[in-house]
């Protein structure tokens, strides 16, 4: 018996110690069907037995937009780079929703799925990935609303002038999903042990929105403070998005490289921490 076990080749191994970057991407790929089923589950469990179904996706951005128009547009009179207020705010809301939804949900992925994670093994990375993809569906629906408004202002009102930068949209989305994934994985890993971070995150996201040009334009900020907003990797993404669809505002293509750099670093940190925590989080969650 000892002879066989020493000479035998082993297909897989469970070790107590792992290297930092031991993520098995091949395994994640093998579980791609699970990712799709989880997306389907999210969709069904949210909208089954609601009368309006996905129409609810429209209600939230429209109401938020109306409030922003009244609050920031009419009362505070924040400049919008000359773009109509409705389409200006809606553009910010549409992509911010995607980011904040992805981030909030990936941040609690370990706690929300403890019941499943405690019983079955599958590459844990599938769960946050499915969240980001689920959020993409919601984004897609809200995006059609945004496009309809853009078309109205372009061809009927002639107030905005979309340009070729709109082709960058998929890339901007990818950047945002990677950013929320990276940040979300860091938070979800830390919250399994340190629950305090949950509180930090809930109001942190609200505050973060004001550090991102969602309701204002970067040009309307005093130059002294602009660096704060420019340090935010989301800023260039929002600026690029607005510049493409509204044809207004300032946008420096080089700032996108800064965002890419920050996002790649955060994502790597996130993946490493997540990978470390996923193997033993059931003991502490």
């Amino acid at each position: 018996m000892n002879e066989t076990s020493e000479t035998q080749e082993w297909e897989s191994e469970i070790k107590s110690e792992d290297s930092l970057f031991s993520i098995n991407f091949k395994e994640v790929w093998q579980y791609r069907d699970l990712l799709l089923m989880l997306v389907k589950r999210d969709y069904i469990s949210t909208y089954k037995q609601t009368i309006l179904g996905p129409i609810w996706f429209f209600v939230q951005p429209i109401l938020t937009m109306i409030i922003y128009v009244i609050l920031f547009g009419q009362i505070a009179k924040l400049p919008t780079d000359g773009a109509p207020q409705i389409v200006f705010y809606l553009s910010g809301i549409t992509i911010w929703n995607y980011f904040s939804e992805s981030l909030t949900k990936t941040s609690s992925v370990f706690r929300d799925n403890a019941a499943i994670f405690g019983k079955v093994y599958f590459p844990r990375l599938i769960m946050p990935l499915s969240i980001v993809v689920s959020a993409l569906i919601k984004f897609g629906i809200q995006f059609t609303l945004f496009i309809a408004i853009v078309l109205y202002y372009t061809f009927i009102e002639h107030k905005i002038h979309p340009n070729l930068w709109i082709l960058a949209t998929p890339f901007l989305l990818l950047l945002m999903s990677l950013f929320s994934l990276g940040l979300g994985m860091i938070f979800s890993s830390m919250t399994t042990k340190y629950k305090d971070l949950v509180f930090l995150l809930t109001f942190g996201i609200q505050l973060f929105m004001y550090a991102t040009p969602v309701v204002y334009s970067i040009t309307s900020i005093p130059e002294k403070y602009q660096w704060i907003v420019l340090a935010n990797p989301l800023t260039s993404i929002f600026q690029c998005f607005r510049y493409g669809y509204l044809g207004s505002g300032s946008f420096d293509p080089n700032s996108l490289f800064y965002s890419i750099g920050v996002i790649v670093v955060l994502l790597s940190i996130g993946v490493v921490i997540f990978n470390k925590v996923e193997k033993s989080f059931m003991d502490t969650v």
Partner: protein, 439 residues
């Protein structure tokens, strides 16, 4: 020499007791500081053996310590031990739900682990959608599920409801569907927790049959954890016994089971049971077997009446509970005394210690090894007060030849005997007596 499917080397698992919170950060920083200087983790040196009855010194306990074993391909390995011995932890490590503190497992072949059936079932989704979801969670590919879909649906026996959300299912249907998916999982290594304890009888038989086929064909390797010695006996050719996180013994199933019962009994015929599950309201402390002469023993003569006396500890006053006591062979139930059928129920169980006795008259059991299995249900007949489990084992002595059976099949016949209806008597400590005699 056969190839190995699993090899466990020096597996240990340490858990931190009490609140994980205060002190966590300081321990983590201390750990990190030691790691920086290339020192060993200071918390690995401490820790008590996992004996929850004694109050330990340290905040850390070793749930498993220095576990080594090998499983050959095609083997069915049973894992037994008292509650808290480390069985579930071992399965969790093997299922990759959490990782070992030290040591490693080496494995050959695709692993499927069933610590639970129906993991991830979503109440809003239909039966069909849940088959896909649950299958995917268990690691099946979409086309693999599609290929087996008809088989799974017909195995579950819920064809009519397959496009209805599972929240409308009865709990039995829900479990059937969950089992059906699990039963169709293809893997070289199958890890099963005591999930077979649920579901209805017909389905259990169907599933046990399916499970029983597993190690025989396909060279599949099975690891099975159970409190149910008769199930272990029927399914597994080898068994591993854990106690306080260490391997106490491993070897042929028959030997280890005998040892398990022996280690739980101070004398022959006396078995300590204790709490099996944290949810139990009534704990079966101890069972005693007595022969016709009232002598404590676990060896019976052919035709001896069988008496079992059980000591129960109830955590509250309970009105009119249902009891059932069943005699089983490794092939399944033989005969039983069931309150649900005969209508007998003790008026009440008082808080604290209660005793109940049941005698089967002239059971005519053929020579062999048998088990007593019992459970207790609440007054409503639904909720379990005490998990149904094996509480004692006994031998019937003699040979078939003595009984005048000397045909060529006499030896194998003992395992294939027909269930008889045996007259019996219930006797509760307050003097309540009930006699059952078939007419």
């Amino acid at each position: 020499m056969k190839k190995l499917a699993i090899k466990a080397e020096n597996i240990s698992k340490q858990y931190r007791l009490g609140e994980v919170g205060t002190g966590t950060l300081s321990h983590d920083l201390n750990r990190f500081w030691h790691k920086l200087r290339n020192n060993e983790d200071p918390y690995l040196k401490i820790g008590d053996a996992n004996d929850r009855r004694s109050k330990g010194e340290s905040d850390y306990v070793w749930s498993l310590q220095d576990i080594n074993f090998e499983v050959e391909q095609g083997d069915a390995l049973g894992i037994i031990g008292r509650n808290g011995a480390g069985k579930s932890t071992l399965l969790k490590l093997l299922s990759k739900v959490t990782k070992p503190t030290t040591g490693n497992f080496k494995m050959n072949g695709r692993i499927a682990s069933l610590l639970e059936v129906g993991t991830g079932f979503n109440p809003e989704m239909t039966g069909r959608e849940n088959i896909y979801l649950n299958g995917a969670i268990l690691g099946m590919r979409r086309q693999e599920i599609t290929r087996k879909l008809d088989e799974i649906i017909s195995f579950s026996g819920v064809e009519r409801y397959i496009d209805t959300p599972v929240k409308r299912y009865s709990s039995g249907m829900y479990v059937r569907l969950a089992f059906a998916v699990a039963a169709h999982l293809e893997s070289e290594i199958l890890i099963v927790d005591e999930v077979l304890a649920v579901g209805d009888a017909e389905f259990q038989k169907k599933c046990l049959g399916k499970m029983g086929d597993v190690p025989k064909g396909e060279g599949r390797t099975v690891l099975f954890v159970s409190h149910n010695m008769s199930a272990i006996d029927a399914l597994c050719n080898k068994t591993l016994m854990l106690e306080n996180g260490r391997v106490l013994a491993q070897g042929r199933t028959k030997d280890i089971i005998a040892m398990y019962f022996k280690s739980n009994s101070q004398e022959e015929g006396l078995f300590d049971i204790g709490r099996i599950d944290d949810s139990e309201i009534v704990v079966i402390n101890q069972s005693k077997l007595m022969n016709q002469a009232g002598v404590l023993t676990n060896n019976f003569e052919f035709g001896d009446s069988l008496t079992i006396e059980v000591e129960l500890e109830s955590s509250e006053y309970i009105k009119a509970p249902y009891f059932w006591i069943m005699v089983k062979s490794m092939n399944g139930p033989m005969f039983a005394a069931t309150g649900m059928l005969d209508g007998f129920r003790p008026e009440f169980l008082k808080e604290g210690i209660n005793k109940i006795k049941c005698t089967f008259f002239n059971p005519q059991l053929l020579p062999g090894t048998y088990y007593f299995h019992m459970g207790i249900r609440a007054e409503d007949g639904l909720s379990l007060l005490s998990k149904s489990k094996d509480v004692a084992t006994f031998n019937v002595l003699g040979s078939l030849v003595d009984k005048g059976l000397n045909g060529t099949l006499a030896d194998s016949l003992a395992n294939d005997s027909i269930s008889p209806l045996v007259p019996y008597q219930w006797e509760f400590e307050n003097g309540q007596i009930y006699n059952f005699n078939s007419k």
